[in-house]
Amino acid sequence: MTRTDPTDVPRPDARLHFGVFFQGVNHWTIWSDPSSGSQIDPASFLRVARTAERGLFDAFFLGDGQRLRESEGGIHELDVAGRPDSITQLSALAAGTDRIGLVSTSNTTYNEPADLARRLSGLDLLSGGRAGWNMVTTHNAWTGENFRRGGFLDHADRYTRAEEFLSVARAVWNGWSEEAVAASADARSWSVPGAVGRVRSRGAHFDVDLAPTLPRSAQGHPVIFQAGDSGEGRDFGARNADVIFSAHGLDFDDALGFAEDLRRRLRAAGRPEGALRILPGTEIIIGATEKEAEEKARWVRLEQVTPAVALGIAGRLWNIDLSGRDADGPLPAEDPVIAEYTGKFGSSRFRDTLATVAEWRAKAEANGWSLREAVIELGPQRGHVGTPAGLAEKFARFVRYGAVDGFNVSPYLVPEGLDDIVDLLVPELQERGVYRTAYTGTTLREHLGLAPVE
């Protein structure tokens, strides 16, 4: 790859932004390696967050999921599971970090706006303006069984609730005027009369009436992230989000296509192009040479996709219990069982089952792959693999051509998995002028280069 010439690229001065996604629940975090630490010990969270901060990352992310996953009629056992409540964990990290943004993925379906807005505000104040909220719209009925409301929402209502939720949250965040608190103890009252408004909102989903209890933070209010990929999801993001957490960051053309689609929607929503950052999730695997990086990637894949994991993934595709089969043998001879799509596994990837299975068979045969190899090769591809210099060139191109604004990196090992990215890749990016050399602001909004909140 040649160095990009700064004169003929659309965004010669663009900077790459990094977030780190401490995943918690997934099969990508390798737990079997001796260097893999606790997934719940506060020391693991602090270690990852501080490493990211040393690497001048914009943000530390936590995901959301309010029910343990199930497979084969019981709790899914094979992958990392169990994680802390995100706002609670991030409030603790606010005390142990200095600059890095702290982003909570919190769903709009099983929370209430007055409560969640207040908790996010608290995090924002405790961190000096470093909070972010990744809005997701979990809706499946099996999660609902853990909540008073029970199982709901219809697909069609998810984003209308999210939209109404956000408008209540914004009203709560903007409820106090700038100089709402008395300057001294001699004042007539603690708050300046008339400076704290009431929020009254009555819509299809909420009927609330409250007095907000917190002022705006150093960054105004939490930065809004959005993760959802349907047309409605993208439109919702284009209307409302500061940052899109996407799944389009592996292939340049795919990423650029997604970014252009979003920018189109952004313009349609009447917002300026600079109002949105796109940070796809990714994994980054680094080696001293391309060959070493490939070998490491191979090791990572085999650790992530153990024989049992491969049988589980293929079993969900075929909709047949494959446990007990040989993952290193051929693909199942049976046809898949086609069942009604339940959304239970939160993915639409397996919807077109017959075509997928036919494709897997053809490719496995052509390449001589075992079932496990087929799962590794044909399952969702996750990451960028290369040398620090090679990856820096590649990422510079991604960002300078407007395909992404950065990446939200999921380390495949906790807590040390970020170290080589910070120690090896970040300096290469800095050398190319595509990554900051120091934090220039104190808030997450400033790190992301977003306009101040009105």
Partner: protein, 372 residues
């Protein structure tokens, strides 16, 4: 056998127990909502030797009229305090009147994880109907319904803490299993107003169960670790402590509002100063002490005969906390009337409470544990 010494808790909400406390605070009014001020106050309490700090809360503003109308959520403050201290226990007030017990369980469990076993929970109740409107939920009205939501909430939360047995995370490379599903349990709670399936999404907290504190009578004795008791006199307060223990609560803490003499002003002068702005209304079930540090030591010595600890609610944190830390706590420690927590111990250990086994832990899983 001598009675075990008192455990000391202090309430750190706002600027102090008096609604006008903010007028005597050592900082600008708005600084109340800053992390610096929170960390400073918590450090003062920890260094003084308190076993526990508590943090009041509600979705409603803490005061009406002239008082502070701002407050960061108690769970968020507690997590921040936990991460900026190392010994003291931290107990936020959380009401389950309108909140989701599933979220409350995760939050408190996570607080126990981030504090390495120093979490407590002061069970609250949202009595004001405005809270229902703020939440956008149907009103829970009357003492009976409030008690039902508190009771059901605590029951669900405790079950969720128990829903992961201690060693549910097995990380068995041989079988490729991270979890053992046999050690995870649906709580299958069905109450009068809602049901919860479980299990929790958070692994079992380090203490097994964070310490549950509740005003006497709010939740059943068998769901409470520490009853918060009080009365208008020391005698009444002692009797309330005896009653709570007779009902089966392991520990009773007396709640005492304190206003102390400082080098500059007497307690009475300080109260009089604040009374110019608003009255300090008596709260039923809370003893009040006004006077010298020595007098407070005498009162606590008397109470030590019938309660296991005290929760102090200082008039003005910035003033009373320093008198407590210079004059009261050292004297209590010297006279062995109270103990301070040891570094590296959980809140349960500091309080002399055993670590509970998960109620779902079966004989078979216990046996398997031993043969591993």
């Amino acid at each position: 056998m001598p009675r075990p010494a008192l455990r000391l808790a202090v309430e750190l909400d706002g600027d102090g127990a008096h609604p006008a406390a903010w007028r005597r605070a050592a900082h600008a009014p708005g600084e109340l909502l800053s992390p610096r001020r929170l960390a400073r106050t918590a450090a003062a309490a920890e260094n003084a030797g308190f076993t526990l700090v508590t943090l009041d809360d509600s979705i409603l503003p803490p005061a009406s009229g002239a008082g502070p109308v701002g407050r960061i959520g108690a769970v968020e403050r507690a997590a921040f305090v936990a991460a900026s201290t190392s010994v003291v226990g931290v107990a936020p007030v959380v009401a389950t009147t309108y909140a989701e017990p599933f979220h409350v369980s995760s939050q408190l469990s996570s607080l126990d994880h981030v504090s390495a076993g120093r979490a407590g929970w002061v069970v609250g109740a949202e009595e004001d109907p405005s809270a229902a409107r703020a939440w956008g939920r149907p009103l829970v009205e009357g003492p009976e319904a409030l008690a039902r939501e508190a009771r059901d909430g605590v029951r669900v939360v405790r079950d969720l803490w128990d829903s992961w047995e201690d060693n549910a995370v097995i990380r068995s490379v041989a079988t490729s299993r991270y979890l053992d599903r046999e050690r995870l349990h649906a709580v299958d709670f069905t109450g009068e107003t809602y049901s919860v399936k479980g299990p929790s999404i958070v692994p079992r907290p380090p203490q097994g169960r964070p310490v549950v504190l509740a005003r006497q009578g709010l939740v059943p004795a068998e769901l409470t670790d520490v009853a918060l008791v009080g009365g208008t006199t020391a005698k009444e307060t002692g009797a309330a402590g005896d009653a709570a223990k007779a009902a089966g609560v392991p520990l009773a803490f007396a709640e005492i509002e304190v206003a102390l003499d400082t080098p500059r002003d007497t307690a009475r002068e300080r109260i009089a100063d604040l009374e110019r702005y608003s009255p300090w209304e008596e709260r039923p079930g809370r003893l009040r002490y006004t006077g010298s540090a020595e007098g407070l030591v005498v009162l606590l010595a008397e109470l030590a005969a019938s309660v296991d600890g005290v929760r102090l609610l200082p008039l003005v944190l910035d003033e009373d906390l320093s008198v407590l830390s210079r004059l009261v706590l050292p004297e209590l420690f010297v006279r062995r009337l109270a103990t301070r927590p040891l570094p590296g111990t959980t809140l349960r250990t500091s309080l002399g409470l055993p670590r509970p086994a998960s109620r779902f832990a079966t004989a078979t899983t216990l046996v398997r544990e031993e043969t591993r």
